[in-house]
Subunit: 225 residues, 2 copies
Amino acid sequence: MESALVVLSGGQDSTTCLYWALKRFGAGRVEAVTFDYGQRHRIELDCAARVAARADVLHTVLPINTFAALGGNALTDTNIVVQDSVDAQTGLPNTFVPGRNLIFLTFAAALAYSRDIHHIVTGVAQTDYSGYPDCRQATLQALEQTLRLGMEYALTLHTPLMFQSKADTVRLARDLGALPALADTHTCYNGIQPPCGECPACMLRAKGFAEASIPDPLVERFHNP
Amino acid sequence: MESALVVLSGGQDSTTCLYWALKRFGAGRVEAVTFDYGQRHRIELDCAARVAARADVLHTVLPINTFAALGGNALTDTNIVVQDSVDAQTGLPNTFVPGRNLIFLTFAAALAYSRDIHHIVTGVAQTDYSGYPDCRQATLQALEQTLRLGMEYALTLHTPLMFQSKADTVRLARDLGALPALADTHTCYNGIQPPCGECPACMLRAKGFAEASIPDPLVERFHNP
């Protein structure tokens, strides 16, 4: 029987992927890994832990102190203000951390290798509004090949949300029975709960639930506490 | 004018690569990066700093605390004894850290991105006796493609030693004027200076110098202090 490791950020997409993996690989055959990389919103780590506990999966938190040492981006450097707009030169938001997903998935692969796990599941999506190049299908395919060669290990990267819209992802979460878990997730760029509802991340999340005609369990939690 | 970032471990190969880069890209157009990943022999970091200082290049040391958290290998875990033999199941020595070079090069790429540097030089060699799969040409080619796609950035990975024997590398160092710098490098798996001369790493290094009929400046340094 095969098992899987899910890269769990504590957000909506990776939580949905955790339930996708539980359905695909079976209870007891799924683990989760979360990276503590100095993200400015520590609430993400709490959310990931709650999601993993609710799903009853083994949860490993791995530290990465390198991004903060590299500096220069709004996700880890609190001296930099998160911008809604993209950089004119790169076309990317200033939350872009070059290679972040490549690093996450390579460390996830190293953990999977040590556990004899051959499947990694990640919630990256090419449809993601942010346009991060390390979330695209072509990048993930090249990375899978790199990991297979570099570790000499049969590893498959699963990206069940790659071409899903946010509304598709909400419907998938409903079908997988993941909606209750979404009440524990975090999306807001301002790092607050209840979520601000006004940042790009909150608005994208709200749009997905609205298009799927499903109430957001996270919003419900604060309206009907 | 283009510039380059050299991944400098403090060893013989990466030091030779630093001088290769200085010749290829020119003085003032080369930087070095070293990773402090919890290696059991801190002397490597001192050697890298001395080599960079002697070559008068900007030297960045980036911390990586993740490998130690992953655990289970002899390079970062002092509870594990370095074995000369390879693991019967994997065919790899127990100093193998899955994905180590992939991580190093991806972080190097992130640093290069932030500095507008488009060339990365690494001393990995397919001829390396250790057989690490993340040092092979096919892996490096796949990684280059992954980094280009994942960072949307024109990046070239240079591996001048990929198909060189250790004797070839010694001759290259001589031709590049890098021999004096090799007196500052570290190779010994036992982490001592003067080097033990008996571990696989010391023996491989000695064999290369012997085959090239060139005295090892590191050995000379301790014989003629």
